[in-house]
């Protein structure tokens, strides 16, 4: 057999009428190598077959070694030939994945270098233009993209509505992996365009973090992105309920209209565990008002600062009785995913599991040993606003929400970032065959089922909302 390249980087699973999405791309924790779920499933199956053939081999050798028996000469080489082919298949898949990843990384590096150079050359000369294009439009773009619904009405001059209409009419312009790459370049080049605008210290690693700091500095001249104090209040407490099982079930528990839902799991003789489900952006004005789930929290979160949404969630966690030692699992969609990742990366909580959907959290480092998945649609540019993925301690799962020639819906502004798009991706993850994904989802499932399936296990569900207060005072 010729040496095969078992992955075709141009291939995608054909979209179906129900699910227009492509195949799952998986980057196991601790690596930067991207594989498809099918590739990893094949590797798993080949490894399992090899293990079984090894048992056959040992039996054949044992048979050959039987004293007074007949010589067994041909069996061992025949089994060895099959085993050797399994090895070759696995190596070929691994090599194909590495080559694909290397090509992607080279392309991304070139684009980022080019973006930075162009930005630094243009910076002083066209500062005014950048203010409108790099600052205003990305903010408006983020606003439209993060929402994509009628709630976007708090703009001051009608630009949001115009942009919203434009992107609704042309969803293909912003629903592609190529556009996502472009956004990633822009988000990590803003600070190159504005070298030392206000003398503010930029993030230590540059990139999206520094770009967001620059945005805050520029926006502050227009009254944008001003952080405030925040107060979280419990809105409901109920007892009972089932354990979340599967990525789709967990996504379904992420609140849409409240800041956070906290589920407390108790089992006799065990310390309580908590699952924290954090909601997405609620309002899209860059001018902070009472709602902490806003653009100010998004930009401050990407900048690695202390957004009100994060502080509100942490207040809720403290009110729910979560101690610093209690085991916590955090789940979030969009801004909620960013906040979830920040909580996990802070070291202030004993987070043992993380699951995020479409979170602009690529620059947030996580400690090793946390179970979970960072899930992104490759044609959703919102995660790219957080810059390229740097952390490699969490399994990354990506998927094109609208693969191939699948028609893109036109009644939503950023289709690939909508909850419905991530619901389909979550369903695909629940059907994944590779052990890389299955092990993570099984661990996340067990966090609640270990307790609630035990005799006497109980769940308490608390929901919280939060309000910005004292708009002129920065906290922390």
């Amino acid at each position: 057999m010729s040496d095969p390249t078992l992955v075709d980087e141009n291939s995608t699973k054909p979209p179906t009428a129900k699910d227009p999405g492509g195949q799952l791309l998986v980057t196991p924790a601790g690596t930067v190598v991207v594989s498809t779920d099918a590739m990893l499933s094949s590797v798993d199956a080949l490894r399992a077959l090899q293990a079984e053939l090894l048992i056959d081999l040992r039996r054949a050798l044992a048979a050959d070694a039987v004293w007074d028996g007949m010589p067994i000469t041909d069996v061992v080489p025949a089994i060895e030939r099959a085993r050797e082919l399994c090895d070759r298949g696995r190596e070929t898949i691994a090599r194909a994945a590495a080559e694909y990843t290397s090509a992607e990384q080279t392309l991304a590096a070139l684009q980022h270098e080019l973006g930075a150079r162009v930005a630094s050359l243009l910076g002083p000369a066209v500062f005014g233009l950048l203010l409108s294009l790099v600052v205003s439009n990305p903010v408006l773009l983020m606003a439209v993209a993060l929402g994509g619904r009628a709630a976007i009405s708090d703009d001051r001059d009608g630009k949001l509505e115009a942009l919203q209409d434009f992107f609704r009419d042309h969803p293909e312009l912003i629903t592609s992996p190529e556009f996502v790459r472009f956004v990633s370049v822009v988000s990590t080049s803003i600070d190159d365009a504005v070298p030392h605008p206000f003398g503010l210290p930029l993030g230590p690693n540059g990139g999206a973090e520094a770009g967001a700091v620059t945005l805050i500095a520029l926006g502050s001249t227009l009254g944008m992105f001003k952080e405030t104090s925040v107060v979280a209040e419990r809105t409901s407490t109920t007892t009972g309920g089932s354990a979340p099982v599967g990525s789709r079930d967990r996504l379904d528990r992420v609140p849409e209209d409240e800041l956070v839902r906290i589920e407390k799991y108790e089992a006799p003789g065990q310390p309580p565990r908590y699952a924290v489900f954090i909601g997405p952006t609620e309002t899209f004005s860059p001018f902070a008002d009472q709602e902490p789930r806003d653009m100010t929290s998004n930009v401050h979160g990407v900048a690695g600062l202390s957004p009100a949404a994060l502080r509100g969630v942490e207040q809720a966690m403290a009110d729910a009785g979560i101690s610093r030692d209690a085991e916590v699992q955090v789940v979030g969609f969009s801004q909620g995913g960013l906040i979830a990742t920040m909580i996990a990366g802070s070291g202030d909580w004993n987070v043992v599991g993380v699951e995020t959907f479409g979170a602009p959290a690529g620059s947030v480092p996580l400690p090793e040993g946390i179970a979970g998945l960072a899930i992104r649609n490759t044609d959703d540019f919102i995660p790219a606003l957080g810059g390229p993925q740097r952390d490699s301690n969490l399994v990354q799962v990506e998927r094109e929400a609208y693969a191939g020639d699948a028609p893109i819906v036109t009644d939503e502004v950023v289709p690939a970032h909508q909850r419905t798009a991530y619901e389909r991706t979550a369903t695909a993850i629940d059907a994944a065959g590779s052990s890389t994904i299955r092990q993570q989802t099984a661990t996340l499932d067990a966090f609640a089922t270990d307790y609630l399936d035990a005799p006497g296990g109980t769940a308490t569900v608390m929901t919280y909302d939060a309000t910005r207060v004292d708009g002129l005072t920065r906290v922390r």
Binding site: S2, D8, E52, V66, W67, G89
Partner: protein, 85 residues
Amino acid sequence: MPPAPVDPVAVRQALERQLALLSMIVEHLRAAVAAPSPMHATEWRGRAADQAAEFAVELRARLRDAEHVTDDTVRHVRLQIAMLS
């Protein structure tokens, strides 16, 4: 020097032990040949699909070859046992 005396009981026991081990191998290989391809061929597209299919065919051929070789050996062992009767 005369050849060592053959203990027919010991030889039978040895052959039956070999038969048991080899039969388990045949059983597994037969199942492996009949099992779906580990390459999940429906997930591949374009040139990759062709190569995955080729790989699956070659793997199945090697498994079948191993099964035939082991099955032949099983038959020889059975024959030896029958000759002892």
